[in-house]
Each structure stands twice: as C-alpha cells, then as structure tokens.
Symmetry: C2
Subunit: 121 residues, 2 copies
C-alpha cells in the first residue's frame, strides 16, 4: 500500500515557527513543510538548490540584488550558492523541496537552526 498525504494536513506536524518537518521524499529530494513568521537569517546552500512553494500567506525572499514577493501558489527555486533571507510579515505556510544534504541555515548557526534529525521527528 502506497500511502498518500494531504499537503494542508501535513502542517499538523509542525510544532514551531521556522522548524521544517519532512513529510515526503521523491528520489533524493525531501519535501518539508514549515510555518514561518518574521525573519530567518541570511544564508546560502553551497551545493543544493532549494525550492520554496507558498501554501498559505505571503513570503518575501530577500536576495543581495533583488527581493521576490511570493503569494499563495507561487514557487521559486533558489539556485545553489545564492545568498537569501526569507521574511514573513504574517504567518506563512511553505513547502520546501531540497536534498537531505541541505543544512537548514547553510553555514550559519542560530537559535532557529534545526538539524535534519529534528526535521524528521
């Protein structure tokens, strides 16, 4: 039996802001859901692209040379190596797609940084 899930229902597993939870996998990529509000931290993932899909609300992703304003249903792939800072004025629900090797806040470590083990709980 191959289990299916509902994307909105998957957010029930989220217990804190900026704390992604792994809800699925396809090949070498993980699907993670997160509720975010406020600012994470400027960082980059040297070797991994990261896809953001907005499930609910609005997200601003700051880049060094421009800002992306995303609304429900929008998606964007941040190429590996590109520094970025996600900011949400109000609570926003996002789906992330990235490989297991991706570190949450890249080379940065802040009180918000979550390990893959925490994301798998």
């Amino acid at each position: 039996m191959i289990p299916s899930q509902n994307l909105l229902a998957a957010f029930d597993r989220v217990d804190a802001l900026w704390s992604p939870k792994v809800v699925g996998r396809v090949n070498d990529q993980l699907l993670k859901v997160a509720k975010v509000k406020g600012e994470l931290v400027w960082h980059a993932h040297a070797d991994e692209d990261e896809l953001f899909f907005i499930v609910k609300g609005r997200l601003r992703i700051e880049f060094e040379d421009h800002v992306a304003e995303l609304s429900e249903g929008d998606f964007l792939t941040i190429p590996k190596g590109v520094r970025h800072n996600p900011v949400a004025d109000e609570e926003c629900w996002i789906l992330l797609i990235e490989p297991a090797s991706t570190r949450h806040t890249g080379e940065e470590v802040t009180p918000l940084t979550r390990s893959l083990e925490e994301q798998l709980r």
Copy 2:
C-alpha cells in the same frame, strides 16, 4: 533576478490532455504540470520515483494490489519499479516531480506518450 511562477498560471502552458509541460526544476528533479482525463496506460519507471500532487480535481492511481484515490491537495510518491495506471473520471490538474531521465510511459509507447523534448516546449 530569480523568477517565480504561480502554479495555477503554469497550467496555461498545457495544450493537450496527458501532455506534461516542464515548469520548473530543483536540483536533478523536474516539476511538470499536466491536465489529465481518462486513462493513461499501465507502466512503471524502473529507476525513478514519481511524485503526483493533485492541484485540482480527483485522480485515481491504480496499482496491482490496491487503488489510491486522490483529491485536491493530496500527494503520493510512486517508488521506482512500481507499476501504476493513472485514471481521471473528470479533468484533473496534476503536478509531477521526477528526474529528467523519466520516460513518460516507461517502457510502453502509446499515442499519448510524450518525449522530454515535447514536455520542454
């Protein structure tokens, strides 16, 4: 400038049923949108998992030992090698995530089979 897209708007590129269009990429995986109605064909992808996400409508995925009934917002990853047959009683809009190496209908070739080149147009 890193472009964003809207998932619903991406379906404007679809010009025929069962004819996926590549709308994004993250690492080695392609994001494709498709409008489907009726039945595709029983097939498997020997080396690639395939994720189905239901954007609009309902999709039934037949497996050899069970059937998955999917509604809007549901998603499911078909592990590599698992034979399946997607069926939609009414038009259904889906998002697929799979690597570029995935052949549309696996080892089967039918009039509905689309090459990657056709999916990239």
